[in-house]
Symmetry: C2
Subunit: 120 residues, 2 copies
DNA sequence: TCCGATGCATCTATTATCAATATATCAGAC
DNA sequence: GTCTGATATATTGATAATAGATGCATCGGA
């Protein structure tokens, strides 16, 4: 995650699940995919990514399996589970709800004050 | 903050600044205002609110002043500072940027997969 | 051989809440 | 006067989620 703000905390699992729902991927590729989709805005550190993957596996949201690439390299590919799919939906819904609520607070000031947001 | 998700962490200062930009308020009223605006979705615990206010005061984003109400009751009223105003703008901008990036990741799955989000 | 890319892992420090708790005082009901 | 609820503030320890720092391994190309 971009070292910008505490605002961004907590979204790691949802992001990971979001890319895994399309197809199974190994850790490094997950990070790359998210990075690419967000135009390099969202980035993981290893210290965040791998513990998160392990935790999600422990929770049963994803399942990991070691594979060997053509080049003979090993990597662990993760796939989303039905439980993970449900969790993703829950988090998406929560996110949308939260986002709306937040906008209701910060957005209302915008519509009333006007000055600051004109410069935003 | 509603005890829902780690997704919601980190937005406390921005929310507080958002209400203070309209007019000075004491702690309890700030919490009430945010709660009301978000239709009871966003709520603070005292353990979060007051340390956050103190920290923001220490950072110079807000300034507090003890007042006495008509009923003779004391309370500490906080007002946003110019520095706080700038910080609010920064955080709003960061939030909007982050929000867009997040949607780019989770939203893209939605538009492609279709099934899950149809039920969202 | 060396370097960069790919790929994974782990640990500590930091940060931001959550939970739990406590104190104080006003206002209204009994 | 007493009790209860609302108002108002404060603090502390536990917990969770990163950020930073580091390390290991291996393939591919120069």
């Amino acid at each position: 995650m971009t070292a910008m703000d505490p605002l961004f905390k907590g979204s790691t699992p949802m992001l990971i699940l979001s890319v895994l729902v399309e197809k199974p991927m190994h850790g490094y590729a997950i990070a790359k995919e998210i990075e690419q989709r967000s135009a390099d805005f969202l980035r993981f550190r290893e210290g965040t990514l791998y513990p998160a993957l392990h935790e999600m596996e422990r929770k049963g949201w994803i399942a990991g399996r070691w594979e060997v690439t053509d080049g003979g390299r090993e990597r662990k590919v993760y796939a989303i589970t039905p439980l993970g799919l449900r969790e993703l939906e829950r988090q998406q819904h929560a996110w949308r709800r939260f986002s709306r609520a937040l906008e209701a607070v910060i957005g209302r000031k915008s519509s009333e004050g006007g000055l600051e947001t004109c410069t935003t």
